[in-house]
Symmetry: C2
Subunit: 503 residues, 2 copies
């Protein structure tokens, strides 16, 4: 049925009765006792545009006089505005279109209002005659998981600013609330650091055109903030740092062949103090730029070969009585980075290897499970150790195959692991990861959407909302809605949208 909401609300009751919507003159208003908020003023403008655009693209419009008509949405924000979204934000809301065609939305926080505005825009639909209508509706909604993220990788390919913003729009349309920005990696270092400008100068693909300046970063964060989306940057160390090493001589371990350096570099050198000074200075800057309470520290896929080849590393390990124990060496590094991060006030997320390798982490660490070999067992282990967990493993969207792979993403139930109720509660959400090896501005958006929408519903909606057949027409409708709003979401199956991309 038209006017379905994606992801599916906690409760959505509607009747067949519809009211026309006065799209040309539609306004959002505040309820008398509502708190008011600059952020909502911006949101009202955006959703007015979305509602008006729906109208503009229709072929025919009319509205009977003297008919009950939805002319406005009255918003009741029941608490003072917050500035930045956070892991603890309240995203619940209630939305009502009553039998008098009065539409109202109320929420305990500005973030809930944002989610409700999105749902309101989705319940509007275009009748066969081209009239925009809304059903009599009551929605009570709240997310199942607090952290619903999308990882985009701007290192394997540079993703232009417009492309990032477009996909943040896509996140808002899917009630995704975290942009996990895998901003740097081996291949390039586009982040422009003020304290270490050589990092992008030497490490970006091109230091003039393939970078994110402080203004760019601020623009991304502000764009996301206005949509209730957190931006969590990842500065992965000690591996995945080749590009970081180019602008910071001495940071990386020199690899040796026999008795002399061979010109290659391995992970960050964990045996010298300069490495930690660098990390501290960089992360201090990052924290002031990115605002969110969390940083992703990476910690995945650390190769030991280069450390093993380097006689200075070998000597240091002997001096410190850890000869041969490279996991221990990795732990020495990670432990210090965790301490630095904590000292500057950061909470942190790490990839699963950090705990797999036995590093002692703070109790409030979030561990992201990515290795797709029984991630359920890993979730059981991580939560059994008392850590909070994020699930990414089933949702690596860079892996592609012919056909409807969204169904696989959709039907992976994250809570389906062995553990107590306390353990289940430690799973705070998940992420769809679109690594950047094979995507850039030419193809990243249609590859992400609507495949990531399947993950969005899994993480927002209740566990019982898991029927692929029921989801298929709703997701098709949602895909067409994204297309109409300017997101080139790819098709699910043979068929068409009323308003096609580029038609």
């Amino acid at each position: 049925s038209p006017g379905s909401v994606w992801p599916h609300p906690f409760s959505h009751v509607s009747t067949a009765q519809t009211f026309p919507v006065a799209v040309e003159t539609f306004v959002f208003t505040y309820a008398p006792k509502s708190f008011k908020c600059d952020l909502l003023a911006e949101a009202f403008k955006r959703y007015e545009m979305i509602i008006i655009n729906k109208h503009i693209q229709t072929l025919v419009t009319f509205r009977q006089l003297n008919t009950l008509t939805v002319t406005s949405l009255q918003v009741n924000l029941m608490a003072a505005c917050e500035e930045y979204p956070s892991l603890d934000m309240d995203e619940s809301y209630t939305l009502d279109v009553n039998s008098m065609a009065q539409a109202s939305l109320s929420a305990k926080s500005v973030w809930g209002v944002l989610r409700g505005l999105e749902s309101f825009s989705q319940i509007l639909w275009e009748s066969d005659s081209g009239q925009i209508v809304a059903n009599k509706t009551n929605i009570i909604d709240k997310p199942r998981y607090a952290h619903r993220g999308i990882l985009l990788d701007t290192s394997r390919h540079y993703q232009p600013l417009d492309v990032l913003l477009e996909n943040i729009d896509g996140m808002a349309y899917n009630k995704i609330n975290v942009f996990h920005w895998h901003i740097v990696d081996d291949q390039s270092f586009p982040y422009v650091s003020t304290v270490y400008p050589n990092l992008s100068q030497m490490g970006a693909f091109n230091p003039l055109t393939h970078i994110y300046t402080p203004e760019d970063v601020a623009a991304v964060i502000e764009y996301a903030r206005l949509r209730g989306i957190r931006v969590v940057p990842e500065f992965d160390t000690p591996g995945h740092t080749t590009s970081m090493g180019k602008g910071q001589p001495g940071l990386l371990t020199e690899c040796y062949t026999g008795c002399s350096p061979n010109g290659n570099y391995g992970p960050i050198n964990p045996t010298v103090n300069t490495s930690y000074t660098f990390i501290k200075n960089l992360f201090t800057e990052v924290k002031s730029s990115f605002k969110d309470a969390y940083i992703h520290l990476g910690g995945d896929e650390v190769s030991f070969a280069c450390w093993q080849s380097n006689p200075n590393i070998t000597k240091w390990m002997k001096d410190n009585n850890i000869t041969g124990d490279y996991s221990k060496l990795e732990s020495v590094y990670i432990q210090q980075v965790l301490d630095i991060s904590a000292a500057i006030g950061y909470s942190y997320i790490v990839w699963q290897e950090v705990v797999d390798n036995g590093v002692k982490v703070k109790a409030d660490t979030v561990v992201e499970v990515w290795i797709n070999n029984h991630p359920d067992n890993e979730l059981a282990k991580v939560t059994g150790m008392g850590y909070r967990a994020l699930l990414a493993a089933p949702w690596y969207l860079d892996y592609i195959s012919t056909g409807e792979d969204w169904k696989r993403y959709y039907t992976y139930e994250p809570s389906n692991f062995n553990g107590t109720a306390e353990q289940k509660a430690l799973l705070i959400g998940g992420e769809a990861c679109l690594w950047g090896e094979y995507v850039d501005g030419s193809n990243v958006t249609p590859r992400l959407w609507p495949r990531a929408s399947a993950v969005a519903e899994r993480l927002w909606s209740q566990e019982t909302v898991n029927d692929v057949d029921a989801a298929t027409p709703r997701l098709h409708q949602h895909r067409c809605r994204m297309v109409q709003r300017g997101i080139p979401a790819e098709p699910l199956h043979p068929g068409y949208c009323k308003h096609e991309w580029r038609n």
Copy 2:
């Protein structure tokens, strides 16, 4: 090295010596004795734009005074202009930039000039300082195969006109010379027929917005003609006709459950004369619209179940002494359609099942091999029967997988089947097929390019040009060139283009 040409020419000799190119004032001229041609005037305009655009996007430009400079390309067309490209067209050319920085292009036909203009535009490259330069160069070039096609499917999804034209540009940049337009199929009938307007009225996804009018079809053909690209339409029968049946009652076989029709329809009813009258009228119109000497008649995947269920079909088969032999029934149909096509002056291409099922076809039929189960054996069989063949089986680009699948397309050697020299000569080319189940305007172009470029080189260049490692940087360069020209070709591997899409 920069300024490489894709697909690789028959012979390409260049030296390290470069000349600056006067891009702002660059002109194409005719050699004194050259034939002249409206089609080339259009081509000159296009390539001037391409060359100027390369310049506009650069950051810095200078040209030393008193330096030998490429200021023009002198074109020598050695025969009168032809109006439409054909299977027999001559695409050979020679291109020279001599030690006096004089650039010249000569060809025996206008089609060769077009291919040479494309190569000329590709040998220009941007130096580190932003200067556009050309190496001293001599290219002698000709295609290996005469038919180098791309199939796009506008039935599973409607592909907007702009999207078709964009991809015809892509074809020109890759010296593809056939657009195989799989215009209709089960899912929708977007072709607007003048003699049977109900076909699109009832069979299109939307008869106002998801159609190709006669003007649209003419625009596609003209756009392709100007680029030396044939447009070969496919009207697949007797299967794949569900949408065709909607606007032509009585055309399709009624399927029965027990003794009564069950509301479903099967292939075209081969037992009634009205079917053949319809085909004759439709194809007569198609021939006058599409200009090319060839039509693709389809003939693939004919299911017998519906015919088997229908008592009228059963009776007819009994009356005609072919009881139980549904392959024979299919042959009866195909034979008549071939005769109709021949009678209206069409040459034709069919999918391999037509000959696999023993239908007697004209000696000059082209058989397209698509089933990816030892297509080499099928090529041996088809050419052994004396028919010309096209290879599509290894190049179904709708099948996707993670990573660099272009390498698989690139290394499939079409001539590698058992057969005599005469048989090898009957293989006239191949096609990359991007079936439309999962692509529309949102994603079709990046999914097609540069994957289809691998097929383009396989079909244009000599058999010995088959080294993936040598091709990789050239294809990356070519992909970036397409991006710069406005084709959102997707990335091959981690890395970047100097001028990124949407940056």
